[in-house]
Symmetry: C2
Subunit: 342 residues, 2 copies
């Protein structure tokens, strides 16, 4: 029931996915509405299970409502089904904050993960995973290190990158750049032998194959993600204006129309499918709020890929190692402090 | 002597400016080097005053060197000339941090301005002034309010916008979005009757005429500015690839070549000339480090426009009013606290 185009486009996307992928589907939402839309459009929903609930979360709702006032909402019910192992993944185009909160509190984080994060695949060649893209407005250096570990596992499993290059988003390439957060994170990331840290990266380098994973706090991650979206839209518009400016260029527009359409698809966020919420014990995928059927189908494809590659298991393994390391660091520090006192 | 292409491109840009604008110029730098480059290239420097110094600040130098170990550098000397009223504006393509520090400490801030800021004109239609674009990594809500006041004065004076619309960069449009900084700044900006505050703006809206001034901390401002630069470069590259993909599209490339060139110019930061450092008692303009002659000439043009429009005087007036308001607020608060105690 979530997103700007629910439930029509969500149902259409799920029907399309059921024809392409070997998976079964549970639709969670207002059964009456779902059935009447199916009847209006001539959809055959017999192959889907429908779990009925007439509550749904809006974009304006407080994220915590998913575990408080709206425990019976379609989002909360879907997450509970996942927690109870009645499904293998949840895909939702609804309120991001609520989905993130619900995933963390209902499905629960992987035991050793301190903060889950919403990963966004930036539309570059090769693709770059941005962590966090907006869920965690305030983070610390330990969180950023763990994002780097989780992001590396994701790019290894879902994109086949053997040694993912991790960059720290910063306002300059030098080690001394950034706020206290970046300075502390830089130190942590440099010392971590399980990741391939390449140092600070600036926002203007990301499109040009400098790293596979970029870590940052959710505030600046959101600014980055949205400015890429906005510029993509602006530049596609500029191209169209250029082609349509005269009859001569209308001819050339015909000639390169296919190319422009491909570009539009690449830089149009609805084409990338979903953003994985990493650090959750089972796959939860956030589809863009403006998802149409195709975008929602792509988010389902991404959920299936996360299930099959076992990236969640891999992240859990990594997180256990990370927790051990942090504990050892703290113990070493305590011992050292103890020695000093002696 | 600052920037990637000094002194050759700086000299060429200044010569070009001297032919176009009614202004006189002082070149500050290594006189021997300047003269030998002029001789090599057949430049006539007789119309320029040259102030000789053989020290210069590199991109790696600590910003504070401009007032400490490198007090005799070309940048420090130029700023001193400005402070002593031997010139009307300084333009430099050198180390941004050093120029910002030198402007604040040698030329000095306007009395009532707490923090100066580097403004960047984003390449949109209409243009949007971003404050701060990277100088102040950590700011408070009072600073952001003052940036809004200074930015409004700049857009009124230099771009003729009568009631500049001010937006607060945030990760969502709702009032409750952002970190503590954005929450506090939102309150301040809403209450300020001297500015036209339109609320939170998201990074993907900026290109589409939602505001004239966008305020944020220097860290996220830098991420925004650089991602716009990177995406501009990427998309121009995509257009070229598209046109050159086949012989058919090579033909169309010929047809729209002029348009693409214009786009490249618009989204190429070197075309926008300089970024004004607002809040300084005299005009100081930062030209991009990679400035070529044309970009440097544009930065000079911007400096001249700042001098002629008297924006510095306007900002000083506004800042006085702002300071009065803050003092009144504090006094009111003290009185209220006093009453409570009684």
């Amino acid at each position: 029931m979530g997103g700007d185009n629910a439930p029509l486009e969500i149902i259409k996307g799920t029907i399309a996915a059921s024809k392409e992928y070997n998976a079964s589907f549970i639709l969670v939402g207002n059964a009456e509405k779902i059935k009447s839309i199916a009847a209006e459009n001539g959809f055959d929903l017999r192959r889907f299970e429908i779990v009925d609930t007439d509550v749904s979360i809006t974009m304006e709702d407080d994220p915590l409502c998913v575990v408080r006032s709206k425990k019976d909402s379609s989002m909360a019910v879907a997450l509970k089904l996942l927690a109870e192992e009645k499904g293998d993944a949840v895909v939702s185009a609804g309120n991001s904050g609520a989905l993130f909160t619900g995933a963390s509190l209902i499905v629960r984080r992987i035991r050793a993960v301190k903060r889950a994060a919403i990963g966004a695949i930036l539309p570059f060649t090769p693709p770059v995973l941005l962590l966090d893209s907006g869920a965690n407005i305030n983070v610390n250096d330990e969180n950023l290190e763990q994002f780097a570990v989780m992001g590396s596992a994701y790019m290894r499993n879902c994109y086949g990158v053997m040694k993912p290059r991790v960059g720290l988003l910063n306002n300059g390439s030098e080690e001394c750049k950034g706020t206290e957060l970046q300075l502390a994170a830089y130190k942590r990331l440099s010392k971590n032998e399980n990741i391939n840290f390449i140092g600070n990266v600036e926002a203007n380098q990301l499109a040009f194959n400098v790293c596979d994973v970029v870590v940052t706090d959710g505030f600046s991650g959101n600014i980055l993600l949205k400015s890429i979206e906005g510029m993509g839209k602006l530049m596609i518009g500029e191209m169209k204006t250029l082609f349509l400016a005269s009859n001569v260029s209308k001819l050339s527009a015909l000639l390169v129309r296919k190319g422009v359409r491909e570009l539009k698809h690449r830089y149009d966020s609805t084409e990338h499918g979903g953003a994985p919420i990493l650090g959750i014990s089972k796959p939860v995928i956030k589809a863009h709020g403006s998802s149409n059927a195709k975008a929602f189908k792509n988010a389902i494809r991404q959920a299936i890929s996360v299930v099959y590659t076992g990236v969640t298991y891999d992240i859990a393994q990594e997180a256990e190692g990370f927790e051990r390391k942090i504990l050892e660091e703290r113990n070493a520090k305590h011992e050292k402090d103890g020695e000093k006192k002696d």
